[in-house]
Symmetry: C2
Subunit: 146 residues, 2 copies
């Protein structure tokens, strides 16, 4: 490899480890989640809904997950087909669609409760490293989504 444009050297890129690590984590989650029939984005949607404790509009869900309706609509339709969430027009604002977990969607919470734990086991990442990583990633997100 030649010496011009050293900023193009593969081992100088931050973007590649970020991209590879994100996919590695998603892949590992995927392996654990197929056991209960979920994909990773579907799991994230449920996490956000459980967390909220009340129905969320598609846009509110998207704000929490940094995803838009183009991505969420088909994911939510699949969750609906699986009987895990309901999608209802907001009677107070017919533009909005409210998403809420069904009873079966709430039961799923128990079924995936051990997934984050199983994933973190086997990672040699300390509590402190985890906080550092989060802080750096959150800053990156904030700076890129202005």
């Amino acid at each position: 490899m030649d010496a011009t444009h050293p900023q193009l050297a593969l081992d100088r890129q931050i973007c590649l480890p970020l991209y590879a690590a994100s996919r590695a984590v998603t892949r590992r989650y995927g392996e654990l989640l197929t056991e209960v029939g979920l994909t990773y984005p579907q799991y994230l949607c449920l996490l956000a809904l459980w967390d909220a404790g009340e129905p969320l509009a598609v846009g509110e869900l998207g704000a929490r997950l940094h995803l838009d309706s183009g991505t969420l609509t088909p994911v939510l339709k699949r969750l609906q087909s699986a009987g895990l969430v309901t999608r209802t027009r907001d009677r107070n604002d017919e533009r909005r669609v409210l998403v809420a977990p069904t009873p079966e969607g709430r039961r799923m919470r128990e079924r995936v409760a051990d997934v984050p734990t199983r994933l973190v086991e086997g990672l040699a990442m300390s509590e402190s490293d985890g906080r550092t990583l989060r802080r750096l990633l959150d800053r990156l997100i904030a700076e890129l989504e202005d």
Copy 2:
């Protein structure tokens, strides 16, 4: 949100910021790369090929980018259609397909030389934070790809 299974709280997940940051970076690269007609994975393939300085088999490229042939084959075909790389059976091992940049593929290096710089500008990430981030991500990748 209820207090059971605190490990399922959305703001406790490392995976979500990792996923969101990776997509934010990829999206930003995508914006800069459309100017020259490249996608982010296509750009990564070219980076790896320029870096290697010699033809790479699909598998070797995949090892560098952590991608498999199922993903790479269509990406490489599009790069070939765009006239940026050649794909040739290895005469010494007909199972392998060697990928190499064309002259136009090499010229592309000049055209994207400012892309990483433009992306890093506007990020308030210090040299030291960048190294920390890389180290943590590389460890994560190593532990998940065993």
